[in-house]
Amino acid sequence: MVTATAGPSASNAVTAGLGSLPDVRAVAETVTDPELPMLTLADLGVLRDVWVTHTGTVVVSITPTYSGCPAMDEMRADLRHALRAAGYQDVEVRTVLEPAWTTDWISTSGRAKLAKAGISPPHLAPVRSPGPIRLDLRDTVRVIRCPQCGSARTEEQSRFSSTACKSLWRCRSCLEPFEHIKEI
């Protein structure tokens, strides 16, 4: 069985720190994303769960944003390092594939941090209608505001940008390019 976690807040099993050690979840929540360093893995919704087993092993579960995310190994190493530095020697990082990551899990503070860094945060992910997945042949009319000047006069340049999770946009008011986290 793939470990299933119901949602980003389903971490009630988190225990407090061992003895005088800092709270284990608080430590895991300080680790940032290697490609979006303004966000923590918790902000991004990639950090799914943190708990301590009865034998004292810290188990952290993370989920990839996209199947080809090259940063998963980096995240595992960063989490192990942060927890060991805080005094937790026995750390296990597990991959959780199900449920699949969605941009809806990016936290409110994460969205604010993205906007501050000049990256347009995602809208709500599309809701799947019954039947086969529909083609999207024309640009859907939706407002993506320029994170620099706030203008709504923007246009999509490409569905794919410097990382799989972003699309490339241009503002027609201030003429600056910017990236938008695309909804999945």
Partner: protein
Amino acid sequence: MGHNDHQDDFADAYGSIAADNDEHRWAFGSGFDDPLAGVDTSVQSGVDGTDLATYCLMLGDDALVLSHRLQEWVSWAPELEDEVAIANIGLDLLGQARLLLARAAKADGSDRGEDAYAYLRDPSEFRNVTLVELDNGDFAQSLARLLIFSTYRLALLDRLRTSRDPVLAAIAAKGVKEVTYHRDYAARWMLRLGDGTGESHSRADSGLTAVWPYVDELFAPHEVEVRLAAAGIGVDPSSLRAEFDSVVAEVLSAATLTEPARADAPSARGRNGEHIQALTTLLTEMQGLARSLPDATW
């Protein structure tokens, strides 16, 4: 990479970096872990592990080989934006391939690494369909192939989300989100080319005609697919044809293109390990470094 935990000799910069490699990568993306690390990969009762592994190789090899073909476009695409898009699509497929090959290794009990499958198998051990190994041709032909492949794969993954194998189901659920973008990208390009200039229309038409003979093979069920479909683990590809036809017809109609006539079915059956010369050439390039320097790390 050698581990030597307590030898912090800063006179040897490389050694000091390598010594702590588990914690501090010396280069981003260097060294790959098991993509299924920590995922429960036990095989459900009543499921034949060998069949499941073969099936994972079929779907994994499709993704791996097409990913390589897409990577061949890097530095050759018509616009920078398309270069980035095609590389991203190739990366998504590579990620799907890694998960599927890793799943195969757990299912057949060999527990070999994903690299052993990718780099150390001969062409006759690859289970991908012929469509993905064809040479790229021009941009229009590559996009026609991508439209056909992603339409087929999206229909397949969408049904695989309810597989009784929880790992396959999870890989599929994730892949559906990715391939939806791939299919839209290819479909929009077919529109631009088909409904563009006389030259672009003609290129799109020729590209489609060149890859069309390999469509039927996608939907011809292999015995492993049939057995696993009956067991609720896999998908019978013949069940995908109606959705495929309807989606492709919608794109071609909007692109002012017509479906090519059915050509003689080629004899190669990729799912059986029968391939054309193009795969051998592709693997020679893809596997060359790993085979000549089997212990290389970077």
